[in-house]
Amino acid sequence: MYIVPLLIALAEIIIYPGLIFSILFGGIIVWLYRKVRARLQGRRGPPWYQTYADVFKLLIKETIIPLRAWKVGFIAAPMISLAALFVAVLLLPFFGKESALGFLGDAIVLLYLLTIPTFAIAFGGMASGSPYGIVGSGRETSLLVWYELPLWLSAATVFALANSISISGIIEEQALHGPFAIRLPLAFIAFLIAAQAKLAKRPFDIPHAETEIVAGPYTEYSGSLRALFELCEVFKWLAVSALTATLFLGWPVIGNPVADALIFIVKIVFFALIFAFIDIINPRLRIEQAGWPLWKIAAALALIDTIRVCMGLVI
């Protein structure tokens, strides 16, 4: 009797919204980012299968583990990062209101799961023993300090207004009373800025600034381990855009799971394009300058909305 739910759970993990779907869809998102960037720069850009080719090629390439590296940490870092992101994807509401592994308080778990890759990447950079990796890891963690405050403040505002810490609760509230993007515009902007930093895209691509510290924490990674990091990138795009869509644009819920899933996908693509566009028209900031938009603007905006919610001023 347990076979049917087990099969469904397996299908969810492997096919939708698990491994196969998220890799395919995330690959398309990363390609979209690269394509839009190329087109805005006046180029033609890569073909649609580029991400898959990149990942697969790296998977079958030789993996070199440098002598100076701490072997266990070096190998474990991308795996931890990938695992955390994979679980995060399973928590996202790909069935309208429901997610594959939904439970009470999953929104907070989701936010925590998205923090793990940052630490894992920093850990891997430290373990690689390259000076660039160490500097990159330091930057990765200091950037975390900058963006975590506005991210959590705006998320907390959403939790407070929705009066719920589960994803389905947040979506239900938005379906009833309109999206939080309109009701909490300042927290929304703050979340967008913080999410940009979370994705480590410009102006916050400080941890792997190519011209300053080669590739940051990824410098020494090669072959299949680098491929895992590429996959992390794919999942990260998917998870962060989907999280933004869930927290702030959970509004049109029709009830039909297929239609809801399609709407959700469109929203994810929309937010991914916004992040891509900000990435394209900005240069990179210095690490101590990153505090200016993140704390002085984003955190302040989020705080205003938090106060508004606490005082009951939001309709």
Partner: protein, 155 residues
């Protein structure tokens, strides 16, 4: 089983053909001419990204090494080290007359350590002083063909 293996083989070949990351390693004595043409190849007019070609920042990520310029004694060991850092399978493209033969600087002068192919194995030579970006793209394409031949069994 065998059909699956074959499928994986062809997939590996496809991936190697469609995703090529370059590492640009100047060979020491260079006049920058070839280097700015390599840089021009990634810019809008030539845009190698549409073939899946990227300039990788670290040699650890690269498939193809582009060597431009003339080997000097000073930078010989550095180039060798970069070559060893690149994971297999890899290919080397020597760009420009200097890398092929020493050009006007000859190979007999005192700071010169010979041509590039005396230090590391070179797969494709691109003539020109400097070659046009189109020629560089063609050279990389030739190197990709060589990479495909060298495809090991996917593990």
């Amino acid at each position: 089983m065998s059909s699956k293996k074959c499928f994986l083989c062809s997939l590996a070949k496809w991936a190697r053909r469609k995703s090529v990351w370059l590492y640009h390693a100047p060979a020491g004595g260079l006049c920058n001419g070839c280097d700015i043409e390599i840089a021009a190849a990634i810019t809008p007019r030539y845009d190698v990204e549409r073939f899946g070609i990227l300039l990788a920042p670290s040699p650890r990520h690269a498939d193809v090494i582009l060597v431009a310029g003339q080997m000097t004694k000073h930078s010989k060991e550095r180039l060798l080290r970069v070559y060893q850092q690149v994971p297999e399978p890899k290919a080397v493209v020597a760009i420009g007359s200097c890398a092929i033969s020493g050009n006007v600087f000859t190979t007999e002068n005192y700071p010169v350590a010979g041509t590039v192919d005396q230090i590391i194995p070179v797969d494709v030579y691109v003539p020109g002083c400097p070659p046009k970006p189109e020629a560089i793209i063609l050279g990389v394409v030739k190197a990709i063909e060589k990479l495909e031949k060298r495809t090991a069994e996917p593990t």
